[in-house]
Subunit: 168 residues, 2 copies
DNA sequence: GCCCAACGACTGCTTGAGCAACTATAACCG
DNA sequence: CGGTTATAGTTGCTCAAGCAGTCGTTGGGC
């Protein structure tokens, strides 16, 4: 039986998607121990790495893969839980900032080391340096080609993310 | 400013996750043109590659990253849309099969070529053969290490998936 | 200065998914 | 057999997320 589904292209996506799913599951488990969902972790991380530990709601939406209404709600929850606060923007009264609170920073600091450890355990540590480099190079190519500019507004902000990651 | 977020591990997951998100977005767009969501496409694909174009609901749940109740509902919708049918299992009256209808097969055949083209365009075609092999090898390692056995019941069925992909 | 388009945030509504509870059937075991 | 336990599928409930519409604010053109 010559099966269309044996196509190596299908296998390739399968691998990428399953690797993603596997890592997501592991990460979620660890994050949940610290009372954070994946989105919440992403939100607090993006905020914490931004100047003043804050971002305007729209910018936050652009950096995460959330719509603006999605951001509104996540921030609602996290504000309720004391991890974030809203702060009015002085020069534009339409905008408001989401700011990480002290409790939020503490939560993040509790969570981060374990998270890095998970990454190492299930991802980067699985490969020797050259193999890892090759993998990352490949991913970068694919990412650059297909990178979102979908989901939320942010046109090529997704691209800017990684440059921001490499360069403070 | 020595930033914790410059950690190469963070960058690595960022790449993998963004590549995944980017591809997902592209694929979803194409699938939507044919009136299929990503899950629906996965469901119909898994069924179509199975003997008799059918699977028991539980097995379907195990192969997709859905809970059994999730499967119930997807199959509900797809049955309503005429892509699938339920068929009673002769020797176990608890079980029932989800079967792809003729209309379902036709829909799949309309969708698949374009889908493969998308994969090539945004993923496999982005890399020369050696780089692609290196990427896939890396992904396989990561996948094998972290592979779900989460989300839905299916313990290591996720592993079985890919062997099934390689071997009809 | 005034009006109108664009923008930022929020809210109502809908959808999709998981969990837990439930029903029906099967299997096991005395 | 008869009863207990496990399994297959479905359903009620909850929750997170997106879309479209709303309201206040801003800025540009005249």
């Amino acid at each position: 039986m010559t099966n269309v589904f044996d196509d190596p292209r299908i296998t390739a996506v399968g691998l990428l998607f399953e690797a993603h799913a596997g890592l997501s599951a592991r990460f979620n488990a660890q994050l949940e121990e610290h009372g954070l969902s994946a989105v919440e972790f992403e939100v607090i991380t993006r905020l914490a790495r931004s100047p003043g530990n804050q971002l305007r709601m729209t910018d936050l939406a652009a950096q995460t893969s959330l719509s603006t209404s999605g951001v509104t709600r996540v921030v609602d929850r996290m504000e309720r839980d004391g991890l974030l606060t809203r702060r009015a923007c002085p020069n534009d009264r339409r905008s408001s900032y989401a700011v990480v609170t002290a409790a939020g920073m503490q939560r993040l600091n509790e969570t981060l080391p374990g998270h890095l450890q998970m990454i190492e355990q299930w991802f980067t540590g699985q490969l020797d340096p050259e193999a890892l480099t090759a993998l990352l190079d490949g991913l970068r190519r694919v990412r650059d080609a297909a990178h979102p500019c979908a989901t939320a507004g942010s046109d090529d902000t997704t691209f800017a993310q990684e440059t921001a990651t490499n360069q403070p």
